[in-house]
């Protein structure tokens, strides 16, 4: 199981449908994605893009009536073939999730100390003193200086930034191989976001953890990940190295997403993309971005483009080669 050549997470042809009333709605179509050990992958998209549903499907966290097709493998093991007991152990020991709102995922009636030591004591039979020592250790590793005192406090006594650090600490107590962070800093102030991201980034590197980082913020994702996957209407439209994703976007949506962000360094009107983002079930047969795309031609409306390799990117656009020069020109004009 410790085969280091194959990816830690390997998702192939993932599709997710959910029931809404009498209808069945598709949220994810044909998503393939892999994460190597120690690698950090950013999943970037707007509302309805399916980024959160994708990771919930990967972790097998979706409601029981969701229909999931395709395969998800973790260290070579098929996640959807795991029995109940195996799944429970996998969730407990190997993967961890950090959410946008830590307050919604922590018991307000228990102390921080109880929260951090619970899994160790109940599941691993660690004795009270050892569990406490480990909990204080992880609190210190996320930069909480008076860890002893924090252990006795309740969640409401901590600020949002501090509580998010406690959540990060809690994922480290057991020592998972994969951390999934779903907009972990969106609800935080900018300066707190920087602190929390720096901590997450340091810990991940020190411990060689793999991470899937979900965000709507392209700049933030680019700064803390190795590779980016941009999602739109339930498909991945482009993947590539984080370093070149913004400067060298090959999909019109990635380029437009970059250009529509108000610049922090220069006064130049952000370029609006007409229309609004859609979900997979609202999109037609063709490229889901076609109705909003300045480069769309007939084939875009009719056929869903597949991901194909261009340089070191994978791009799902019929016209990626034709429009490369134009995207570059636009980028220069926007800078």
């Amino acid at each position: 199981m410790n085969d280091t050549t194959r990816p830690l997470v390997d998702v192939a042809d993932l599709e997710v449908h959910v029931r809404q009333g009498r209808e069945t709605r598709q949220l994810i179509r044909n998503v393939s994605l892999h994460v190597q050990r120690g690698e950090s992958v950013g999943l970037v998209g707007e509302s309805g893009s399916g980024k959160s549903v994708t990771v919930r499907a990967v972790l097998r966290f979706l409601e029981a009536d969701a229909i999931v097709n395709g395969t998800v493998e973790f260290a070579g093991e098929a996640v959807y073939d795991m029995g109940r007991e195996r799944l429970r152990r996998w969730h407990r020991d190997d993967v961890a999730m950090i959410y946008q709102d830590p307050r919604a995922h922590i018991n307000p009636l228990r102390t921080i100390g109880d929260f951090l030591t619970e899994a160790l004591r109940l599941a691993h039979g660690t004795d009270r003193h050892e569990a406490r020592r480990r909990a204080i250790g992880v609190l210190e590793s996320v930069g909480i200086t008076n860890a002893e005192a924090r252990m006795a406090q309740y969640p409401h006594q901590l600020s949002g930034g501090l509580l998010q650090r406690v959540m990060i600490a809690s994922t480290l107590v057991i020592g998972p191989q994969l951390i999934v962070a779903d907009e972990p800093t969106t609800a935080l102030d900018m300066t707190t976001q920087e602190e929390v991201m720096a901590i997450l980034d340091d810990l991940r590197r020190e411990r060689g953890l793999a991470m899937i980082f979900i965000t709507h913020d392209l700049d933030l994702a680019a700064a803390v990940t190795d590779r980016l996957a941009v999602m739109y209407a339930g498909i991945i439209v482009e993947t590539g190295p984080s370093l070149t994703m913004q400067g060298n976007a090959k999909h019109p949506y990635t380029a437009a997403l970059h250009a529509s962000r108000p610049s922090t360094v220069e006064k130049s009107a952000p370029l609006a993309i007409p229309g609004r983002p859609v979900a997979a079930w609202e999109a037609g047969d063709g490229c889901p971005f076609e109705p909003r795309c300045a480069f769309a031609v007939d084939v875009c409306r009719l056929e869903l483009p597949e991901l194909r390799a261009i340089d070191d990117h994978l791009v799902a656009c019929h016209r990626a080669e034709d429009i490369a020069d134009e995207l570059t020109r636009e980028r220069m004009a926007h800078l």
Partner: protein, 259 residues
Amino acid sequence: MSYRLRDGTDLVALAGVSFAVNPGCSLAIVGQSGSGKTTCARIISGIERQTSGSVELAGHPAVPSPRSRRARKERAQHVQMVFQDPYSSLDPRQSVRDAVEEVIAEHQPSTASLRRERADELLDKVGLDERIGLAKPTRLSGGQRQRVAIAKALAARPKLLILDEAVAALDVSVQAQVIQLLSELRATEGLTYLFVSHDLGVVRQVSDECIVMHRGRVVEAGATQEVLDDPQADYTRTLIEAVPRPGWRPRRQQRESAQ
């Protein structure tokens, strides 16, 4: 501005804050949560009453937190506010056009047909067509709802529009549309903006001048370009450095364990 806490002590939310917005200008109040930026906006709009100090609107002293219907109406014709989440200010059972007409009826006595005409004109101005005018707010996307909130605010014919994180909750691609709309409206309607925001990218694009607030005080004020390009206060510098941008790496600061 201070609040009396339950234990009898006073929490000072704003201390010695002074600033002016010139007609037709767009001023941004920048700060993080707890900085007092929203409290400032709420005092100007009359929602909140200041402990001491004064607000002048168009050269006349403004009544702190007006109570009478007449005084509130008068304030509303000077100042309108658009919030981050327009959902809570829209009645789910009322069509978009009816909601706009209601505000028109409150402020300008006119006939039903004139009201309807004016409502359609306002909706057109914010980029919403007739079909959306007949829809209920629940059917609308976030961007469309924010356009409705702007149309409703304009229906009172205010001179000053206070935008409290008005584009913060929108998807990036939609946010750019609303920013564009706001800059067009400022020119065509001759509006003055007070833009409350934590987002320095948005602030740079929408404002001419800005004040930076920290813990209830103004730490820096000036032309937006100058403040963001050449910040003088340490706090402004910290804020600017915390914004992700190409080539940025987050840094640990080891300063916050006292929180």
